[in-house]
């Protein structure tokens, strides 16, 4: 976790999205991963992340995907899938409006 936070300081991951709801995809090098997992959080109150491409700019984020994967290939595939979710602003909004684990899983499976 500390590695992901440290990396966020050096190489932030805030992404302003087309639909106005912004996301962040914090992650770290694979050697820090103890057990592979993917976490998703939706935030009622936005949390400010630094913009990935212009760190001096803060992005108010309401959707966070935390990637902790052991294999580079898995990390890439997961990021590819997350990118396809982020490109779909209707789905991003549906994810934020969904309150149950089952509902989230269902939405992500459709993607």
């Amino acid at each position: 976790m500390k590695a992901a936070i440290d990396r966020e300081k050096q190489l932030p991951t805030g992404l302003p999205l087309a639909g106005g709801i912004n996301a962040a995809i914090p992650h770290t090098e694979i050697e820090h991963v103890i057990k592979p997992a993917l976490g998703m959080a939706t935030l009622k109150k936005p949390v400010a992340f630094q913009n990935m491409i212009s760190p001096e700019e803060m992005v108010p984020v309401r959707l966070v995907f935390l990637l902790a994967l052991e294999k580079p290939k898995a990390q890439v595939e997961m990021l590819q899938e997350i990118a396809s979710v982020l490109l779909n602003s209707v789905l991003v909004e549906e994810l934020l409006n969904e309150n149950t684990y089952e509902g989230i899983i269902k939405l992500l499976k459709q993607a």
Binding site: E29, P55, V76
Partner: protein, 95 residues
């Protein structure tokens, strides 16, 4: 066939984000019939590898004065301004 243009894609780790971007760029440029050779690296390696590239694309802030055109973009992750960036890449490669 023309010599392929060499595009270097860099991100923080040289693994995840750059792969997503490299794939997206490869697809878009192939559609336009452009012959490119794409490689990836860590942003910290960009300076030492710049000499072997015709164009550098990064998803993090890049060092200055690399001697090669640099395009910084997260459009392939966010979708915002994607078409414009592809145009920019095509222009940079044709010039």
């Amino acid at each position: 066939m023309d010599t392929p243009k060499r595009v270097l894609v860099a991100c923080g780790t040289g693994i995840a984000t750059s792969t997503v971007v490299a794939k997206a760029i490869e697809e878009s440029l192939k559609e336009r019939g452009l012959n490119v050779m794409i490689s990836q690296c860590k942003i910290s390696e960009v300076r030492s590898l710049a000499g072997n590239a015709d164009l550098i694309i990064t998803t993090t802030p890049a060092p200055k004065d690399l001697g090669v055109p640099v395009i910084q973009t997260i459009a392939f992750l966010t979708g915002i301004g994607k078409e414009e960036v592809i145009e920019e890449i095509v222009k940079a490669l044709e010039s």
